[in-house]
Symmetry: C2
Subunit: 407 residues, 2 copies
């Protein structure tokens, strides 16, 4: 190394702030991620993060799959590959989608770094600055982050227990030049509600009538505890729907692996965007996941997860019933990880969180799930992370904080 | 599942084309990636892809690291994590950077899905549509792809054997409102040249004088075959330089892991952008890589790679000396994977590639490495992928094609 001292540091200073692109003015760190840092303290019972129950991870099976993949096909696992990536896993997903009546071939599937990258790539290929994205209110905060980075404007249509309110949706479509509709029909994050078949039919009909396409985000679809699966939107109008799902809630979020199902010409455009974004998703991770899937382990594992989460949902609903004061209401999800609590209107849950943290319990304030600062008197709780005993204790703590707040 | 036939497919058709965002009009599939598909035929000797030599992959060591990580810390490997991600690997990189006199703490380092994602995130936080990015001519085609997706305009400054021509650089900075300068100082892809210390000093001085920051892309810096390392730009002016590197050329490209070194306020903004893009890079991959690094395996492995690639470079240079007709010139890289060949002006290498493929040899046409369709009579060859015998045979085939072309 040629020895050479820094010649210019301290003499010439860069004003970085004025160099950032306009789109960064809308970027903010997710509130959830900041809260997660607080909630990591071991004495806090956290209902905040959407973290799958870690004690259910298939660690041993991952070990076996890594060994198998590296022993039998190590060079392929570690070398560059195509952007669409690992064909056997795409074929597995073709078959898996068929179980849900979702028609797809390999050319309709792109593997991505979790659903979050799907949202980013969709933003990248569709959103011009100022374009209107219509979402449910509340909606997944990661979608707000992803689309906001491309300078989308947002229009929200409220949810009820049957999903998006299609009457208000029609009014919104009439009034705004919407680019696409983003919805989570199953076990909504954060609301915990599921869209009925009637609403789904109406939604695809309205979308088609107004010439607007739909992004259907389905990370939790496999985690139904009771009742019957309801037809996905992509089955109702596959030419007009992009469908997203992920291995994060069934296998592991830390590996970062999800997929998009879309018409082949959309996949081709997404592939171009992904080439520029990161070339391709880790081949090694895809091959290990494929190995676990092909052994049929995931299928039985999902049954276990469902049982555990159902028990926890029941524990949380029962604890809230027992402990929460009047004036507090909540949703009763048929699956997934989350439920949505509404407190009296004069409580602002963002401020109330401080009180809750004093009582050593955490949640995510409702405001995080609206692009327009709505949701002040709501909060999202996850029942997936803690066992029934901790859930009971956590809900008691939340009740104490609520009682203090209500005076 | 509620049985439900597709209600609208075939009746209502979406016109996707008119829905794509403006930025997609500039997106193209990389020529390289299309050629790679052709070059996969086993009878073709490919000097096209920048694929590290697969026979050197540390497959056994990966197996051991996977087993260790999953056995000892499996939950952490498979759960969600923070966006900046795995602190021990960031600490390893802090130490590694010190060996190159690059000053950094953990807060200056962000782990990403290969350098390609670094380029994407830099585009995302800095480039407004129409902003000017100054690159070397030729330059890395993945950078053109990444920045073009944010609607950058490009200004190129030619390279010679000493790197970017700083006289012409000054003219360009005088004439154009440049946002940032993107350079590959070591063993340039595709040109194979290395920027001298004099040029580096001049470059950072000019950048500071014109109020322009620098993106220093250094994927090959560790692969020096001879001579002394030259001080990185980031050492010369760390407040004004973003430095990128990757595990792709030393450990494995298929795992998709790289890093950015930058002032902490830039890292904070990149973290916000990455949250919206994909939350974080696979924790599992980071922990496995960290395990391999901490064992000191990578350090000795890099020595092996250097020896093998040096032998291959020598083989290619000797073969070209022996076989190529007059009027053909090439660079003599001191490291890395690539060299750059210039053929007589009347040959267009994009067309000539067809002739070469008939002779069962592949390369990447020079045009792929210019944003403005320059480089018609140049080509990039990699010496890293084939062994000396195949290199000799491949160069002979290329000579046959050249002789046919020259008549």
């Amino acid at each position: 190394m040629t020895p050479q001292k820094s010649t210019l540091d301290g003499k010439v200073t860069t004003n970085w702030h004025e160099r950032f692109a306009e789109r960064t003015h809308n970027m903010m760190s997710s509130i959830i991620r900041e809260i997660l840092k607080l909630a990591l303290q071991p004495d806090i019972i956290s209902f905040a993060g959407g973290m799958p129950a870690a004690e259910l991870f298939l660690i041993r099976e991952f070990e076996e799959a890594c060994q198998y993949v590296l022993t039998h096909d190590g060079v392929r696992a570690l070398q560059y590959g195509t952007t669409e990536r690992y064909p056997p896993l795409r074929q597995y997903l073709v078959e898996k989608m068929k179980e849900y009546d979702v028609p797809a071939e390999q050319e309709n599937i792109l593997l991505v770094n979790g659903s979050q990258q799907a949202l980013d790539l969709i933003g990248k290929i569709f959103i011009n600055p100022g374009d209107v994205v219509l979402t449910e209110g509340p909606t997944y905060l990661g979608a707000i982050q992803a689309f906001r980075a491309y300078q989308a404007r947002f229009v929200t249509v409220p949810l009820d227990e049957e999903g998006i309110q299609t009457g208000k949706l029609e009014e919104a479509l009439e009034r705004h030049p919407v680019k696409f509709i983003y919805v989570l029909p199953n076990f909504h994050n954060p609301a915990g509600v599921t869209m009925t078949l009637e609403r789904r039919l109406k939604l695809v009909e309205l979308a088609a009538r107004y010439g607007v396409f739909i992004v259907e985000d389905d990370p939790y679809g496999e985690l139904r505890f009771e009742g019957q699966d309801i037809t996905p939107l992509v089955v109702l109008h596959k030419e007009n729907v992009l469908y997203l799902s992920t291995f994060s809630k069934t296998l592991s979020p830390g590996i970062r692996l999800g997929w998009i199902v879309a018409p082949s010409k959309i996949i081709a455009k997404l592939v171009q965007a992904k080439q520029g974004s990161d070339l391709h998703t880790s081949t090694f991770v895809q091959m290990v996941t494929n190995d676990i899937c092909q052994r049929g382990i995931l299928r039985s594992h999902v049954k276990t997860i469902r049982e555990v989460y159902r028990e926890r949902r029941d524990a949380m609903l029962a604890a809230m019933e027992r402990h929460f004061p009047p004036g507090v209401t909540w949703t009763r999800p048929q699956g997934g990880l989350f439920l949505w609590v509404q407190v009296p209107e004069h409580i602002d849950t963002t401020e109330f969180l401080n009180l809750a943290l004093q009582e050593k319990v955490a949640f995510v304030p409702g405001r995080a799930f609206y692009p327009d600062d709505d949701g002040q008197n709501a909060m999202r709780l996850t029942f997936a992370t803690a066992d029934p005993e901790r859930i009971e204790e956590g809900i008691k703590r939340l009740e104490r904080a609520l009682t203090r707040e209500l005076g």
